[in-house]
């Protein structure tokens, strides 16, 4: 499987089956829910068999369809963990207490649409107003200060927040699962592009989360680890401070239901290529992002164990 290319959804599904078969001791594939166009949303659970109870790390990619580097990273991350867990003590240590739940493509319908019709589509493909208007911005659809700022009630708009909080099946699928496991989830990572940012809560307010300082400290350490790899600068801060105000985001919702380490990663680049990042940048982007994520996981591991 070529991790240095972008893959259409059929190939990603096939890869998921194959990799869970290949590493069946530690990987299982699960069904999260159905999309609007009734496609399955599948995630991978990576879990080292053990007697002790585990905490959960959640990572989703591709909530915005056009951000192709994000699903590419989710696949890379899975590959790195699985190829190295037997002989890499860092990863083995993390797996001794942590299970990874990876959703490589959250917005399946939108992702397919970027392959077949419009490379720059962002939203889901839900139909509104008698089929005259399509798509909800899934990252405005979560039940946290829903549609209060940085989102639109007009379905024509690219930041349409949906007909109500959690109106979309994709959002429902994610929230049902996360809710059911929230006591055990330590990290919620949601991967996007572009901008080269590590964003902490919140977008819907300039107020800071109770653990804001810790999140920034951990984030900055991750940014330094990232920079050490290929020299790229990622800025760290709360979303409202360094990006713009938004409501209904998955990251803010995850934080507010109690998940302590909730981050949005905006991957490469800073505008030269934007969403259409050339394939020759997949590897360096994934390598540096891997360092950042592992850095956060190290800090989280050290905090709890």
């Amino acid at each position: 499987y070529n991790y240095n290319k972008y893959h259409p959804i059929e190939e990603i599904y096939q890869w998921m089956s194959q990799i869970s078969e290949k590493y069946k001791d530690v990987v299982t594939q699960h069904f999260l829910g159905m999309t609007y166009e009734t496609r399955p949303m599948n995630y991978l659970k990576i879990s080292q068999p053990s007697n002790n109870p585990k905490k959960i790390i959640w990572m989703d990619c591709g909530i915005h369809a056009r951000e192709w580097i994000a699903p590419a990273f989710c696949q890379w991350f899975v590959k790195e963990i699985l190829q190295n867990y037997t002989d890499n003590s860092r990863i083995r240590t993390l797996l001794s207490h942590l299970d990874f739940y990876i959703l490589p493509v959250l917005n399946v319908d939108g992702y397919i649409y970027t392959w077949t019709t419009n490379r720059l589509w962002r939203k889901s493909r839900s139909s509104h107003n008698n089929g005259t208007c399509f798509g909800t911005d899934l990252n405005r659809n979560f039940n946290v200060s829903w549609c209060s700022i940085g989102a639109s009630k007009d379905c024509q708009d690219i930041t349409f927040c949906g007909t109500g909080p959690v109106s979309e099946p994709e959002t429902k699928a994610v929230t049902s699962f996360i809710e059911s496991e929230k006591e055990n989830i330590l990290c919620f990572f949601t991967m996007h592009s572009y901008g080269q940012l590590i964003l902490a809560p919140y977008g819907y307010t300039k107020n800071k989360s109770s653990n804001h300082e810790e999140l920034i400290e951990v984030g900055e350490k991750a940014a330094n680890a990232l920079k050490a790899k290929h020299g790229m600068t990622y800025r760290v801060g709360s979303s409202a401070d360094i990006l713009y105000s938004t409501s209904g985001s998955s990251r803010d919702w995850a934080r507010d239901i109690g998940i302590p380490f909730s981050y949005t990663f905006e991957l490469r680049d800073t505008g030269t290529h934007g969403f259409i990042l050339p394939e020759d940048q997949i590897q360096p982007t994934c390598e540096e992002t891997m360092e950042a994520v592992l850095s956060v996981l190290d800090d989280v591991y050290n905090k709890y164990w």
Partner: protein, 291 residues
């Protein structure tokens, strides 16, 4: 509909004599410091537009990027395009009545870096945003980092490459969906970026800024004077709205001569804003009065 939410930014009347208030903003590199937002910003809640205020951190980077759009357009050299490398220092002055002025110093890199050679240019710029209006007034000077003859040589090479391309081009989009640009088509991209720089400068406001994402429907004609007469549609990514804005651009270029640009952008959203049509020539003096 919903009642307006509490404003994110302070809505109390601004204190008097804000003109000349200098905010010293350190370039934020991996740090999450939050400079005070412009006092003229207001949140607009759940309306068609996302909030009218982008967060102020990144303001320096954005000012630098806009300065370079203007610089690149005025230089008219598709083989010597510059992009922002790093902001070294800068400050913003906000006057709630007049707008926002950013002074900054920054380094630049070549848009098309030569293999093995890393050049860093230096620029200083003043970028003045008239309150909520597009087309900021820009004063920008940069150190020369390609010798003039070398630059002219490269421009002529690019010109010849463009002339050799068969029209109509059998290309749907540049780059393709995977980010790939065939090396033979690279001159088209560079020239398009040059023309788009003008458009992006003209459209940008204190809040709105743009990146060029993709070229569509590229056409080329010859003119009597043998200039490159180039007609294309470009997709711009607009921040913070996230919208993709298609613009039809027609540019006329001959190496060493000022660039001429005509454009029309599709305004998808608010009908009350003027549709983005404009034309300009790098030969015309830019209007700096009242700045």
């Amino acid at each position: 509909g919903q009642s307006p939410p509490p404003a994110l930014y302070d809505q109390s009347p601004p204190p008097p004599a804000l003109y000349g208030l200098g905010l010293l903003l350190a370039p934020s590199v991996g740090l999450g410091e939050a400079p005070t937002p412009p006092a003229s910003c207001r949140s607009v809640g759940a309306q068609r537009w996302p909030p009218r205020c982008s967060a102020p951190a990144g303001l320096l980077q954005q000012a630098g990027a806009r300065g370079l759009h203007f610089f690149n357009f005025r230089a008219g050299s598709p083989s010597a395009l510059r992009v922002l490398a790093a902001v070294q220092e800068g400050r913003a002055r906000i006057n709630p009545k007049k707008g926002c002025r950013v002074d900054l110093a920054f380094t630049t890199e070549l848009y098309n870096p030569e293999e093995g050679k890393e050049r860093l240019g230096k620029c200083s710029a003043q970028v003045f945003f008239r309150k909520q209006k597009p087309r900021p007034a820009i004063n920008v000077t940069c150190t020369q980092f390609i010798e003039k003859e070398k630059r002219q040589e490269k421009d002529f090479l690019l010109y010849k490459q463009m002339k050799q391309l068969k029209t109509p081009l059998d290309v749907i989009s540049i780059p393709d969906s995977h980010g790939y640009i065939d090396p033979s088509l690279r001159p088209i991209w560079d020239l398009a970026f040059l023309g788009s720089s003008y458009v992006m400068w003209e459209k940008t406001t204190q809040i709105l800024y743009y990146y060029m994402v993709q070229l569509r429907s590229v056409k080329q004609w010859k003119t009597q004077e043998d200039a490159i007469d180039f007609d294309y549609t470009v997709l711009l990514h607009e921040f913070p709205t996230q919208e993709i804005v298609p613009c039809d651009i027609h540019l006329v270029w001959y190496p060493g001569k000022p660039l001429k640009v005509k454009y029309h952008c599709q305004e998808l959203q608010t009908p009350e804003e003027a549709s983005g049509t404009g034309e300009g020539s790098a030969a015309a003096p830019t209007d700096f009065k009242n700045f």
